[in-house]
Amino acid sequence: MKKRGIGIGSIFYGTGYGNGFPDVSKAVAQLKSDGKIAIYVGATEVGQGAKTALSQIAAEVLGLSVDDIVFINEDTSITPDSGTAAASRQTYNTGNAIKLACEKLKRDILEVAKDYLGLNSIVGLTLKNGYVYPKTLPEKRVSLGEISESLESSLKEEAVFTAQTTEMDEETGQGAPYWPYTFSACGVEVEVDTETGRVEIIRAVLAQDVGRAINPELIEGQIDGGFAMGAGYALYEDLKIEKGKIKNNSFTNYLIPTSLDMPDIEKVIIEDPESTAPYGAKGIGEPVMIPVAPAILNAIYDAVGVRMTEIPVTPEKLLKAIKEKEMTYNEGKN
């Protein structure tokens, strides 16, 4: 028999290293001779889209398009330390460092432009689409390329962002060890085949608090990917560690979701800008994954009335649990 059920899971998650551990990102911004801006950070791109989102932050500060940002993050010999691409921290932490560096550079650019244009002050100077001009007199303008050419050495600024993290009280377990926190919730509908124990995810919705969506498309990609990892965690993936050795060491026995196992996901992006974040944006890499497994296990409970307490919920385990429940039910009847 096929039985359907729905379940939800919701979580909050602290991003960054947290618990008093120093969480520091550095960034360098430089005006290049062609008027483009180079950003140097040691922030790793692993496919999550850090390069894109962080370039957007730089472009926003400097009134440029992302095409005018030359983003250098692969070469550790010329980039400062921006910490690991872990703990969902790059958008918030390195994003903040980039924003600070670009703001400093922008001030330097305006100062040079002031002298170049023979003005008294940088007040009311606009930097937009590669030009600096007084907002009251846009015709009087100088391009970033001209500014760069007029200088003997290039303008360059470094900034450091150190996140606020406090140690939690060891005795009581109380405190606010992380900053910022992010919230998400997931709902799924599953269909359980009571003959085989197989669980199919029919429908899914995932709502993620992002602070501010710098790049909604990238966030959607993270939600899809996080859901797939959460679903794999709940239903398939088992390293089977025996005596310190990984038994399931190939894709033949370590199963991850395929395209046929994934439902289309209704994605809800919730924006509630975080005051200490770059343009309000928080990290979401891990959070999108976390509510998925509890939602699936709750949906299984709703479908067949068994509370699974061990993951992955493989067909064998679920079948056994369903049988056990039927047996106690029948015994109760006799």
């Binding site: 959607e220 899809d224 797939a228 190939s250 894709f251 395209s259 046929l260």
Partner: protein
């Protein structure tokens, strides 16, 4: 040693190979088509997918001599001189690439599908790429991209 003749990305090659050379090693190490990726080496992940006479194969499971007389397409052979292939464009437009390791195989599986079935349903698309594992994207944007590519290809005609 064995002499074989095969076409890769429209170019003909006459080669002398060892009997136990795998097709993936011939393509990557001898001919330099490093867009063919090795994920598992045992036919489970599809990263090494290439098109052989119109059908997708896992090049880690095919021995090079089995490709004798065949026509192979790798990711390098998909784009034309002027522009990338509409499927590649669709992957970019939709944001279907994250780390990119599965991408060459995904695009070739999509191409083999769309060459035979120009208007696939989402379910047919899911089935066609079910042999290609992806750890990053959760597949949905890849399915979106292949749907979009089908439109691009129709419009291009």
């Amino acid at each position: 040693m064995k002499k074989i003749k095969l076409t890769v990305n429209k170019k003909e090659y006459m080669l002398e190979i060892k009997e136990d050379t795998r097709l993936i090693d011939l393509l990557r190490d001898v001919l330099g088509f490093t867009g063919v990726k090795e994920g598992c080496g045992e036919g489970e992940c599809g990263a090494c997918t290439v098109i052989m006479d119109g059908d997708i194969v896992n090049s880690c499971l095919v021995l090079a001599f089995q490709a004798d007389g065949k026509e192979i397409i790798t990711i390098e052979g998909v784009e034309s001189e002027e522009e990338i292939h509409p499927i590649q464009q669709a992957f970019l437009d939709v944001g279907a690439v994250q780390c990119g390791f599965c991408t060459p195989g995904m695009i070739l599986s999509a191409k083999a599908l769309l060459d035979k079935n120009p208007s696939p349903t989402r379910e047919e698309i899911r089935a066609a790429i079910s042999g290609n594992l992806c750890r990053c994207t959760g597949y949905n944007k890849i399915v979106d991209a292949i749907e979009r590519a089908a439109l691009y290809l129709k419009r291009g005609k």
